[in-house]
Symmetry: C2
Subunit: 124 residues, 2 copies
């Protein structure tokens, strides 16, 4: 796998692309929220209480641009916008789920490692 690094320009490493893409502050949270089914803008705001309106819009646009999320506008008054995972987005979440499982199983281990590291830096 290491040859990915030399065989392709770094910028185009596919793993890196999706990890940095989905690794920003809000993307996965939105994707997780949408994995429960379609959701309106305001519903997403409630799902993720501490996201700002700006970042919700901005991140949704990015995910839409990537083809991971669909956006359907109903031009009523007041307007109504429904977001949903696309097939591509759903298939990505299918990959994320085992990773989520790993994270849950090993979070304690990571936390413990951090404590050890910080402790031995401080005192030893």
């Amino acid at each position: 796998m290491r040859d990915i690094l030399t065989s392709t320009p770094i910028e185009s490493c596919p793993v890196r692309q999706i990890l940095t893409d989905v690794g920003d502050k809000w993307s996965i949270l939105i994707l997780i929220a949408l994995s429960g089914g379609p959701r309106r803008f305001s519903a997403l705001r409630r799902d993720i209480p501490d996201i700002s309106q700006k970042m919700l819009t901005q991140t949704l646009r990015k995910l839409e641009r990537d083809g991971l999320v669909s956006r359907e506008v109903t031009p009523s008054t007041p307007p109504r916008v429904d977001y949903d995972l696309t097939a591509l987005g759903a298939s990505l979440m299918h990959q994320i789920t085992p990773l989520a499982g790993w994270a849950v199983r090993h979070l304690d281990e990571i936390t413990a490692a951090r404590r050890r590291f910080d402790w031995s830096s401080t005192s030893g």
Copy 2:
């Protein structure tokens, strides 16, 4: 899965933790390089040509702190430092590999979606 969002404080969502952790500019690139076997500092610099010395050190420290990477110093002159994946790091990479496969298989699709999005934004 959506209940992760409400059942726990957002900050502690485990998936988010590892994704933002490994989603920074250099982490996966280093982890990928190390998944080929142990590697010296200077070898990693060659593997990832455009990383700065500062960021290589800094990112390695973070990964070490997380318990994903081990660091072994041989105090010779000149000094020698070997980095390697820990068992935890290797098990993480085990989860990343299928994700990498997905990324490779669907990168074209994402790129196409972006072109469509950018095109329809520009022209109508």
